[in-house]
Symmetry: C2
Subunit: 299 residues, 2 copies
């Protein structure tokens, strides 16, 4: 649906609402239609320098958007590991249902880190809210008094501090007990109900923006914490590279809806207050992790 068609639909719906609320409700645009009608300027292309590309040995590509504003030292480590080729040959070692998929070097085969890795990195678990681009979500959250989005990332705030929320598809740095903060050599992504208790306890470094289904559909591990009991069950990772280090024709091109845009606001409102035909009872609410800024590939 084009933008002008969309506007016409909205106007017709508003007019109809005055005459016949039920009929108007049945013809209200769906969130998907609102998304399709959002103008090009509502979308922001993600810089290839902020995209981490994971190519699986068996084929298939996962792409992570990196959140530099939150964990710069951990991200410098991750970039160094990617550029040095250190990640080549790591594997998915853990898939715990309704929790996380984790990848790195198996415990039985440690691999020396390249020079320049900061260890321990500072505990980059939160940062000052001041100076952060932030758009508030106009609905309440169970975990924090203020929630919203910074770029395509979900953010929570309290007392002037801001942190990335552990929503589905967010990527964090696995670590041992404090004072360890993790080096970035082992990462995980959330594959279930947001485990927000991890917020502010771990460095969150990004969000998966393509290929999530390649990780979520992996068999669950049967050892403790969802680790694979047998090495043969692990999914191999051929390479992890920054998109900006790939030849131009191999770089993924991905954009996400700006949280400050009119399109995003309309989309959130429609998802929180479903008026399209399937829904009889709009929720009147939406959760931070149910309204992550939509992502799409650029042809």
């Amino acid at each position: 649906m084009s933008r002008s068609a969309m506007t016409k639909t909205l106007l017709l719906a508003m007019a109809a609402a005055l005459l016949a609320p039920a009929a108007a409700a049945a013809s209200a645009p769906t969130p998907t239609e609102i998304l399709a009608a959002a103008p090009a300027e509502d979308w922001a292309r993600i810089d290839p320098a902020d995209l981490l590309v994971i190519d699986l040995t068996k084929g298939g590509r996962v792409v992570i958007a990196l959140a530099d504003a939150f964990a710069p030292v951990h991200l410098a480590n991750i970039r160094l590991l990617a550029r040095s080729g250190w990640f080549d040959g790591v594997s998915v070692v853990r898939v715990q249902d309704n929790y996380v998929v984790q990848w790195g070097v198996p415990n039985e085969a440690p691999k020396p880190l390249p020079p320049g890795i900061v260890k321990p990195a500072p505990a980059e678990y939160e940062r000052p809210a001041r100076g952060l681009a932030f758009t508030s979500l106009a609905y309440s959250d169970s975990f924090a008094p203020i929630v919203g989005y910074s770029g395509g990332f979900p953010v929570a705030q309290r007392g002037g501090q801001a942190w990335l929320a552990h929503c589905y598809g967010m990527v964090g740095v696995a670590r041992d007990i404090a004072p360890d903060t993790g080096t970035g050599q082992e990462l995980y992504t959330v594959i279930g109900q947001a485990p927000r208790a991890l917020d502010r306890n771990i460095a969150v470094v990004g969000r998966i923006v393509a290929g999530m289904e390649l990780l979520t559909a992996l068999p669950r591990g049967t050892a403790d914490l969802g680790f694979y009991a047998q090495p043969v069950q692990r999914t191999g990772i051929a390479h992890i590279r920054l998109a900006s280090d790939l030849p131009i024709e191999q770089r993924p091109a991905i954009e996400w809806l700006r949280p400050e845009s009119g399109g995003f606001k309309a989309w959130v409102h429609a998802r929180a207050n479903r008026q399209d035909a399937f829904y009889g009872r709009p929720a009147g609410a939406i959760d931070l992790c149910n309204a992550l800024p939509p992502v799409r590939s650029i042809p």
Copy 2:
């Protein structure tokens, strides 16, 4: 850990807290330890008449606990379909990432329903809260003023009405546009961040209590809404039966933690306020769908 060992640990932790808060925090029992120490009377065995058993053609079993207190007509339909063998040979037709796995008869091969199916069933999307066994969760929810648990099920309430919440692993009845309410011949389960906007718009009939990982690890469908593009991609279902209709030695034996028990309260509190060594910053909160009453198989 035995119950007496657990009590000793708690007492030691309480004593230590007076002397050295940090050391006490490091030795606090984990939610897993609390669960292991819960006495037998904190657990309730699920009646085999309330367990729906799905046996996959390729092997593997999924078990659903049925929520009779919420959707009795839909559940009478589902029981009739199970008892008549109607479900034998259906398949998983849809896997949409971060949303649902759905099973039933493919659209291209409709199958007549047995006599006795109520169609349309009443819209059993909520019920009076009065008369419902209910234990409140002492933390706030983004979607409803009152949330908690009834047996092993997550429940939300507003204005004297109660409904089952669309948490990970909850099972609902697929339907078309109203006035259709679904017959029970096609069911789905939630495999991502709780899509609570579906609450009160669909008949929710149960919760998966075993074998969830057999569904969540299925390849995502590539057609619209995650339907499989090719019939060969579907996962076959050999049989769906009530556990009470199986020979005794084939029945699953499953129990869940009573939400009104001391063990459940301690487990929720520990999960919301993590004091074990990994956590430096307890959330002080927990989400309804992060605290579903734990389930375990009885040997």
